[in-house]
Subunit: 239 residues, 2 copies
């Protein structure tokens, strides 16, 4: 049984304003919750589950299914919900390794999927323009499949960061660039992915040192932003 | 104004049973509708829009916003909705070109996104196991972004098809395969993508001539099925 104030608190974290204010976010489902409980840089605030959730050695507040439905943001609630403090990361060193830049990605699912892709390819930092979706939006966080604890997602002006690191190459995913096939591996720099429909803003395009393109063979007009990111990272970082 | 029977008809197409019975499906939004109206293999059944949808030379049944809300399956309805007969394709020739095989893809959004990726990379046929999501599910169709008119999606037993074409190579996306990096280009055969959590069923794995893997650099446990498909197709078909 949860106090009314706890129900309200958990529900409020569906909104960015309250997530920012509380420095906390929600994840759901046994798999995601277990993975984040094991993350060294996350602090658990609350764990709430239904009777069917049983995990050796992990205490949680047990609630009825009807009560769980009220706090869950999933269309099919899945046994357990956890509130964590936002992850803590070291001060970012943009000159080390590759920084993924997301310019105005709007769809939380796309954003979360991209963070998961970044994690797969060993990218440690994702810089989002402040008008991008929030990675702690429940849909985004779920889509990261746990990568939100490993990949540092920052909301900063990427143009200003690039100006502070003028020697780093800037790869931009554009329609008219060099083919990504056969590009040499990228060891450090910025890889910029644009908004789902508007692409990359002019200010960032102007800083491009390596505009790249996924050549089209068939007839689809475009690729989904997350899919394009996966393809580009595999060709620039894979080996 | 729509007759009650028309409202019921359009709503019924949200269910596979009625889509199969009527041989029809729904798409929404001006961009998708315009693209499919121009497709040579699609026949329009009904076009319904609100007053703000105006398109030179295209007649449609105008309805009030409140009525449009009732027939739309989108959370934010977008001006126009069309019912089309399912696209007509030539008899498939599996020996020509590459066939993408989807083994039990469950999420309609993933399925639609994969069809769009197939179209980008010039694949003309996608064979889904009969337990896969329906490509004419509204969410799947929307996710194809129009590719549903260009890519033939079949629901058949891929194992039986492979048996009939024993000489074609079978590429399978698995965890323990050869790296996709540096693979020679694939001109014909089968490329098999597995279910989001269970992967590829044993029967199909046994037919694999080329098990392939996207090598992991970082720590994410897996990649989204559509993202993995995009990466694999770019390495096996891109040039």
């Amino acid at each position: 049984m949860l106090a009314k104030s706890q129900v309200k608190y958990i529900q409020s974290l569906g909104q960015k304003k309250f997530r920012d204010q509380e420095g906390a976010f929600v994840v759901e489902g046994p798999k995601m919750v277990r993975e984040l409980l094991a993350a060294p840089n996350l602090e658990l605030v609350t764990l709430v589950g239904v009777a069917s959730f049983r995990e050796a050695g992990i205490p949680f507040t047990e609630v009825k299914d009807s009560e769980f439905l009220r706090i869950s943001s999933l269309s099919t609630p899945n046994q357990v919900l956890a509130v964590f403090r936002k992850p803590v990361f070291e001060e970012p060193r943009f000159g080390d390794g590759v920084n993924l830049v997301l310019d105005g990605i709007q769809d939380p699912g796309n954003l979360g999927t991209i963070v998961r892709i970044a994690d797969w390819f060993g990218i440690r930092r994702v810089v989002c323009t402040p008008d991008s979706a929030d990675v702690f939006n429940p849909k985004a966080t779920q889509s990261t499949m746990g990568s939100v604890s490993r990949v540092q997602v920052l909301y900063e002006d990427p143009h200003a960061l690039m100006q502070r690191h003028p020697d780093l190459p800037v790869y931009t995913a554009v329609l008219e660039g060099k083919s990504i096939y056969g590009q040499p591996a990228v060891g450090k720099g910025w890889i910029v992915i644009g908004n789902e429909s508007k692409g990359i803003r002019g200010e960032l395009l102007q800083r491009a040192t390596h505009p790249v393109t996924i050549p089209r063979i068939g007839q689809a007009e475009s690729l989904n932003a997350a899919v394009a990111t996966g393809i580009i990272l595999s060709h620039l970082l894979g080996h």
